[in-house]
Symmetry: C2
Subunit: 194 residues, 2 copies
Amino acid sequence: MAKQNWKGSALLAPVPAVLVSCGNGEKDNLITIGWTGIVCTQPPKLYISVRPERFSYELIKQSKEFCVNLPTAEMARAVDWCGVRSGRDYDKFAEMKLTKADSFAVNCKSVAECPLTLECKVDSIVPLGSHDMFIADIVNVAVDESLLDENGRLMLEKANLLAYAHGDYFTLGKKIGDFGFSVRKKRNLKRYRK
Amino acid sequence: MAKQNWKGSALLAPVPAVLVSCGNGEKDNLITIGWTGIVCTQPPKLYISVRPERFSYELIKQSKEFCVNLPTAEMARAVDWCGVRSGRDYDKFAEMKLTKADSFAVNCKSVAECPLTLECKVDSIVPLGSHDMFIADIVNVAVDESLLDENGRLMLEKANLLAYAHGDYFTLGKKIGDFGFSVRKKRNLKRYRK
């Protein structure tokens, strides 16, 4: 395969497309974030990178709290709109008809319509250039009961989550395998033979 | 929607599933990484989080370089295998029949079969617990020419990239819209009427 070499750019894909909620109750806001990821498993930590000029930046910096709400593909229009518009001009919850829910472990509101919410407390802020990275502890996960099977196991594949790749929003498609499938093949074959 | 509250955990999804190549030419290795994301757009920076006990950890710490290779869904078995096995025990390039390609701006090898490679130089290492975060500058992007249209524009949707969600690998599914579609609707309608 012939390759072209381009200057460095933010071409990682696919990435999550999440609704981050923040604010102190007087002013609540939503910001759409693609620059997010898990940075540590134990203790569980994630980051979000936010431009300092964004309205949510000061809200998060002051309260040191935010929620990462995972939207469904049906919510793509609201996700996009919250990424384009500013909380300085709009009440985004009201405009997008999204419901504020009380969170469990933080004071800022969650998005009730999102089936999963990761409630976060900021640990540190790392300035990097266009964006500052907020590194945060995931202190609670709120999970919609409709995603749990009869044993209480999370069936996240039923959530119809959104992905973002190079400017486009996508659903998730076909499941290819689960972690470890490449080394479990023989054992599975034996199981089928029983 | 009734919610259950769980203790904090790494339940962000979907995330990328990438093959990170590293090493100094004497010893080259591959490690599958889901804990990665863009942390800054200008200058372009990403992170990968790696457990210090992983074989790749020392390779990256010593050379201060790595490549984030974006695999296709057809490569899911190799991606999974490289996440389960250790470079201490296997030559992963050879075992998975992946081709070492010279990179453009770093000394470590790229994966020729991956349509996109982000070549990275480590900027800082942040210890967080189970994982250390490598924050790195993206110094070059190698793009397969088969993904470019006649104007040289990247059609990343043709790459058939892999996503990872809660232990499962997925293809990307249906395209829902592009960034800004929620506010461009009227203009598009006008264009149709012409």
